[in-house]
Amino acid sequence: MKILVLVKETFDTETKIVLENSKKINNEGIKYIINPYDEFAIEEALRIREKFGGEVVIYSVGRRESEVTLRNGLALGADKAKLIVSEKIDSITVSKLLAENITKEEFEIILSGWIAIDDNNAQVPARLSQLLDIPLVNVVTKIDFSDDKIICHREGDNTVEIIKVSPPAMIAVQRGINEPRYPTVKNILQAKKKQIDLIISENNEDINRINITYQLPEVKKAGLIIDGSKPEKAVNILIQKLKEAKVL
């Protein structure tokens, strides 16, 4: 079984984002990781490969330097990786670039995380499946196989939706589907030798029409705790503060 896994390189959740200007995020101080939801997808792909054999190929769209991050995916055990180099990584661009390249592949399943932790857009799985004209099962928490069908579980409130789908299909996974492994040294050493294909994206008119600007959210003021040991005094301070804030 050939499984493609879509991986997005994202900022580490603890990264403090600094803007250079409204178009550019300052790269200094940023730590990159594999989008944790995509890590669930890699893990699931590896488990499927362990059961049925086959190949796990990582696909990613992003900056050239994200090779380093993708190496971590290979260290988990993926067979190879393909990186489509692109400065723009909005969902429209990414889906298009992926579709252009994936149509050339033969595969049974495309796995990905249902959302990325940086932009929280959750659009690529849907867009890509449309472009490739394959079914999408989204927010999946369990994958099984029966005959030639893929059985996907989706958890709702007190219900489980079970969806049967025939390959090729796109499955976007949710937290809880598995617990990703920790790379062994053997795999890390092997990953160093594995190939990462760089695909340079051609300048595409549609893509150039997309424009993204950034701005930082306003910083919330820290809360104020008033010493409550003397209630009368505390109430007075509170009233004063509320007046200052023009609430009263």
Binding site: D12, E14, K31, Y182, V185, K186
Partner: protein, 630 residues
């Protein structure tokens, strides 16, 4: 002239040689089997540690830490040595046809062998009844344990009986020089001379057969420690466990890393298993065992010897506090084995408690175990107006290494601030690495993640070299141990001090004036990585002794026997969901001193003990905070 006829009353001596040769064959066969067992192990470059061996074996230093069994073993040991020499003398006299055993020398010889025989008997008597009455969980009660004692006692007793019978029959004038034999002879006084002579012959042969049994039994029983223990001490490495062995991680031919099966251990580690006599000194002070975790260091070694499976829970239970190795009289090296097995789990199998995976990831991305953004590492210092040096430091500037706790943990940041205050007041030139500092790697190394450890070490060394670091003062004994003792192997040669050493020095130089401190009663908790790991027992005590108003009330156990807080060996980052909490055991020991402040010098200990004593009337403070508070 006083002397004694060798083989008096004995004929057919050839039979004795046959018995002894058979015994020797059993012995050699057993020895060969053990040799093959060691030989199965991997390479291990060891130096001959003759000095430690002699010191340990002649003085019984470690064994004597446990008073009664220590003294009885000392008696047994020297008894055996003397009787062995006595037998050699007889051999020399007999085979070289020399007449050594006569006159005064013979009389002394006779008296000494008698007395030392008696010493052995007394020690066996104590050993036997001690084992009988001690509870099962403190001492093993296997058949072998009794057989060994009874067999030796039988040999000595039959020896005295034949001596007594000989004295009765020959009735020599100098028989009072064999006082114990003489005492035994009293029992046979009423019997006829010819019967006593026959009885002598009979028991003499029983004596020889029992000696044969003893020799043959050695390699098949705990008696084998007679051979394995001295060997193990000769090849012992005092730093084993304190400075962990490095692991070549670039060898992509290698299929496994760490120890996954018995043959992955080195020959020395396998010899360790044979040197163990199940004496239990390791378990007596083991925090894991005493808090009812699955690890018991004695059972661990014995299970390995039997090649039994060791559960991951057992392997993860160790706090690497070093108390087992400190107490082991035969230098068994437990900690490296535990770490080797953790290495296998982490590096080869990728199997570890889920929480650890998160900790490792955090360290990989942000260089600290909590995964706090790496750009906030120097925030604590910014509040104090300290800016990390981007320029290379000059030679007399000290690098202050707060470590992850000192930089990120709210409680321990107070210690960093106190220490900075001390440095400033004493006009010490210092700098920090700030955001470019990364976790020292101590925990991950002891958790078996050598790959991540080496990554952190190499980054830190490169960084420090680039900044011209020469002298480092750390706040954490774990940083201290690895920076000082383990970094040199990776090319990091820095002069490393713990802040307690620096404070002691500053008091000596009168840069800190030990006066005008408030009157307080303090007790001190020895951090394992400062005390047992680096022998710094006196530093903090010297500091307290130089301050009149502070009175130190020692808590038990202390110094070499000090009890772990439970956080070492990476246990800080694991759940403690089995048995009691180790920290609560230590906290109650501290409570019983009735001190007002419990002082320590380690962020791990400070965290563990503070958590335990939150609601109690006992403050937990770092020594730097006490010194800064004036």
């Amino acid at each position: 002239m006083p002397t004694r006829e060798i083989y008096w009353n004995i004929s057919n001596q050839a039979i004795m040689y046959i018995i002894l040769v058979i015994a020797l064959l059993f012995f050699i066969n057993g020895l060969y089997k053990r040799y093959k067992f060691w030989h199965m192990g991997q390479e291990d470059k060891r130096n001959l540690n003759i000095k430690r061996f002699l010191k340990n074996i002649l003085t019984h230093k470690t064994i004597l830490r446990d008073n009664l069994p220590g003294v009885t073993h000392l008696m047994l040991f020297w008894g055996f040595i003397l009787l062995f020499i006595a037998t050699v003398i007889i051999g020399i006299e007999h085979y070289l046809h020399l007449e050594i055993l006569k006159g005064k020398f013979y009389l002394t010889y006779s008296l000494l062998t008698d007395l030392f025989g008696l010493i052995i008997l007394i020690s066996l008597f104590i050993t036997f009844f001690r084992r009988l009455y001690k509870p099962q969980e403190k001492i093993d009660k296997k058949p072998e344990d009794y057989i060994v004692v009874l067999l030796i006692a039988f040999i000595i007793l039959t020896g005295f009986i034949i001596e007594g019978l000989r004295l009765n029959v020959t009735n020599v004038l100098w028989k009072k020089w064999s006082p114990v034999g003489l005492l035994f002879s009293l029992g046979f006084r009423g019997l006829s001379v010819s019967f006593q002579q026959t009885l002598h012959k009979f028991i003499w042969w029983i004596h020889v057969v029992s000696v044969g049994l003893f020799i043959a039994y050695i390699p098949y029983s705990k008696l084998f420690h007679i051979i394995a223990a001295p060997l193990n001490q000769i090849y012992s490495d005092e730093n084993s466990g304190k400075i962990l062995k490095d692991l070549d991680l670039d060898d992509d031919e290698k299929e496994t890393f760490g120890v996954g099966e018995i043959k992955d251990f080195t020959w020395k580690q396998l010899l360790d298993l044979d040197a163990c006599t199940r004496c239990g000194r390791c378990q007596n002070e083991c925090p894991a065992y005493l808090s009812k975790k699955p690890l018991n260091p004695k059972e661990f070694i014995q299970s390995l010897k039997k090649n039994n499976q060791i559960s991951p829970e057992t392997i993860w239970s160790c706090t690497t506090c070093f108390s087992c190795q400190n107490n082991c009289p035969v230098d068994v090296e437990h900690i490296q084995k535990i770490v080797d097995m953790r290495r296998y789990l982490v590096l080869t199998e990728g199997e570890m408690p889920k929480v650890l995976q998160t900790t490792f990831r955090n360290l990989e991305t942000n260089g600290n175990p909590w995964g706090i953004g790496w750009t906030s590492r120097e925030l604590w210092a910014q509040d104090l107006g300290i800016i990390a040096n981007s320029e290379p430091m000059d030679n007399d500037t000290i690098l202050y290494w707060p470590g992850c706790f000192g930089a990120f943990d709210e409680r321990n940041k107070l210690v960093s601030k106190a220490l900075v205050n001390i440095l400033k007041k004493a006009n010490i030139k210092f700098s920090i690495l700030g955001n470019s500092e990364k976790c020292c790697g101590d925990s991950v190394r002891r958790l078996g993640n050598e790959y991540l450890y080496q990554m952190l070490v190499l980054e830190n060394i490169e960084n420090m070299r680039g900044k011209g670091v020469n002298k480092i003062v750390t706040q954490c004994p774990h940083c201290y141990n690895t920076l000082k003792n383990e970094y040199p192997k990776f090319g990091g040669d820095f002069k490393v001090f713990h802040h307690t050493e620096l404070i002691e020095e500053l008091i000596k130089e009168r840069k800190i004036i030990p006066e005008n401190y408030p009157e307080i009663k303090v007790t001190y908790h020895d951090p394992c990585y400062l005390g047992r790991y680096n022998n710094k027992f006196a530093t903090v005590r010297n500091i307290f002794n130089s301050i009149n108003s502070i009175s130190l009330i020692e808590m038990e156990p202390k110094e070499e026997k000090s009890f772990c807080c439970g956080a070492g060996g990476g246990r800080m980052w694991l759940e403690e969901d089995q048995g009691f909490k180790i920290s609560s055991l230590r906290a109650s020991q501290a409570m019983s001193t009735k001190a007002e402040v419990i002082c320590t010098a380690c962020p791990f200990c400070l965290t563990m003990l503070s958590d335990e004593l939150k609601e109690k009337n006992l403050k937990v403070m770092d020594i730097a905070e006490i010194i800064n508070k004036k």
